[in-house]
């Protein structure tokens, strides 16, 4: 019996030992990024190509933009790829990041129930549409999680002259969750919701929701990439991180971003390709 226990203990011990050594066979970087880039399948499409070209593995931690910036600010990531320009500029200005490179863009879309209780279908002005939602007190699902999409939504409410926080819990529902979880909630409630186009296009549980408004210039959604400053955090894998950034903005990286499509429609548009 003792033998049996010993064998079991050795087996588990080997597992533990295995864990300790498994991690350093390949150079890697930690990329703090948003759920939209991960959930849309873009990273699954382009990152293996980068790893093939460079031999560097990219470990993506996909969280909201706010949390991604906090991770990078604590030195827990080497590269940051997010979508909220003011926060990105502040990150660089504080010396936490080296420099912001524009990578790609797409747009936000307003998604809502096909029954359209706030009558926004046909509207082209996002501010008018949001005012209509607030006026009719139709359900609206907000991320409420300090993500890039949440920050964008708040700035749109402010521009529209609506203060929805006062109605939180009534028609304005803050989920405090990622884009996908918020979309699941919106589908179940029949609520309007602001989403980035990529997450919506790849979302598998659309239910009765559809895009009710798109194309307003205010819905522009740019993504930037920043190397975490190695002068602030000595452990940052600067050369590998910069190699990744250079690759992303190179013709090869940009072409791959442009080639990525969901249902034959591109969802991200490269920023530095001249023949766009």
């Amino acid at each position: 019996m003792q033998k049996c226990f010993c064998v079991a203990a050795c087996f588990v011990g080997m597992l533990v030992f295995n864990l300790g050594v498994a991690s350093d066979e390949q150079p890697f970087i930690v990329l703090a990024s948003t759920t939209s880039t991960e959930n849309s399948g873009l990273f699954d499409y382009i990152l293996p190509e980068f790893t093939r070209d460079s031999g560097i593995q990219v470990r993506v931690v996909a969280v909201g933009t706010g949390q991604a910036i906090r991770l990078a600010s604590s030195g827990d990531a080497d590269v940051l790829l997010v979508h909220h320009r003011p926060s990105e500029d502040a990150f660089v200005a504080e010396g936490l990041g080296v420099r912001r490179y524009p990578v790609m863009h797409n747009d936000f879309v307003l998604v809502g129930p096909a029954t359209d209780p706030a009558s926004v279908i046909g509207e082209t002005d996002i501010l008018q549409a949001m005012q209509a939602i607030a006026r009719s007190e139709a359900l609206f699902a907000s991320r409420g999680d300090d993500s890039g999409t949440h920050k964008k939504e708040l700035s749109l409410w402010a521009e529209a002259g609506v203060a929805p926080a006062a109605d939180s819990g009534t028609w304005y529902r803050e989920t405090g969750s990622g884009m996908g979880a918020t979309l699941n909630t919106a589908v179940a409630m029949g609520a309007y919701v602001l989403s980035d186009r990529a997450t919506w296009a790849s979302f598998g549980n659309k239910g009765e929701l559809e895009i009710v408004l798109e194309g307003d210039a205010r819905l522009f959604n740019p993504y930037g990439v920043i190397l975490v400053n190695p002068k602030r955090f000595a452990h940052v894998r600067a050369s590998q991180g910069q190699a990744f950034i250079d690759w992303l903005v190179s013709p090869r990286g940009q072409a791959l971003i442009a080639a990525y499509a969901i249902d034959d429609a591109p969802v991200f548009f490269p920023d530095t390709m001249v023949d766009e």
Binding site: M1, C4, F5, A9, V12, G13, L15, V16, N18, L19, G20, A22, S23, V30, T35, N39, D44, R59, V60, V61, A62, S74, G75, D76, S177, G178, M179, G180, A181, L183, N184, S202, F203, G204, N205, K206, F233, H235
Partner: protein
């Protein structure tokens, strides 16, 4: 209901087809959770036995604390371990955040009180049966602890299994300290959370079914081994 059936079909497909991604994720889940249970057992078994057998001031308080710690919220443990392992935290130098090691640390903390509390209960009960015998031997604390742990080994298996169940089912801690990185720290529960957030409810449910089957198999194996061994060795 049809969603459940199609999820079952997807689950069967994944398992029968030995989907390589699924195999990798299941293997990592087992590795992380079994490692956490092993580490937690090395601390929790002696600790639980010591609390059961050694009289010291504040023992009732220690028992209450151990029992309460069985319900530690995984997300809080995850957050604390994150703050410790972050590059800006006291253990940042180790650079283990977003690795399986960080996940094992978090799960060990979650599992240890479960093993310790259940061990304390088991050893307490055993102690009543064995008290006279141990007294007649004139056994000291260390000898009592090791004797009772060895004699109670089959009953203690339940505590280890409860710990494994807790570790393999939790998502709150591992998603914070592991980061759910594909091919590095992605385990069953974080995959289920991810697929749910992508709206792939069918796939998420199928993975849930696989996880339940896995947990049931580990439990069944442990019970069968325990039964066979206790028949042979009493």
């Amino acid at each position: 209901m049809s969603e459940v059936f199609s999820a079952v079909a997807t689950a069967v497909e994944l398992v029968v087809g030995l989907d390589p991604d699924l195999v990798e994720i299941v293997a990592l889940s087992l590795k992380v959770s079994l490692s956490a249970v092993l580490i937690a057992a090395m601390v929790g078994l002696p600790l639980g036995a010591a609390v059961a057998l050694v009289k010291f001031p504040g023992r009732r308080g220690a028992v209450i604390l151990l029992n309460a710690a069985m319900g530690l919220p995984p997300v809080v443990v995850g957050l604390i371990v994150y703050l410790l392992l972050s590059r800006s935290g006291p253990l940042g130098e180790m650079g283990v955040l977003f690795t399986p090691t960080a996940m094992v640390i978090a799960q060990s903390i979650l599992v240890m009180p479960i093993i310790a509390a259940l061990t304390r209960q088991t050893i307490s009960d055993l102690h009543e049966e064995y008290d006279e015998y141990l007294c007649s031997l004139g056994a000291g604390h260390l000898q009592r602890i090791s004797t009772l742990l060895w004699d109670g080994r089959f009953r203690l298996l339940t505590g280890l299994l409860a710990g494994f169940g807790r570790a393999s089912a939790e998502v709150g801690a591992v998603i914070i300290v592991g980061g759910n990185i594909n091919h590095v720290t992605r385990v069953m529960t974080t995959t289920i959370a991810l697929e749910t957030s992508k709206g792939n409810l069918n796939l998420a449910l199928a993975l849930g079914i696989v996880l339940i089957i896995l947990a049931a198999s580990v439990n069944a194996a442990a019970v069968l081994i325990g039964d066979a061994a206790s028949k042979r060795y009493g």
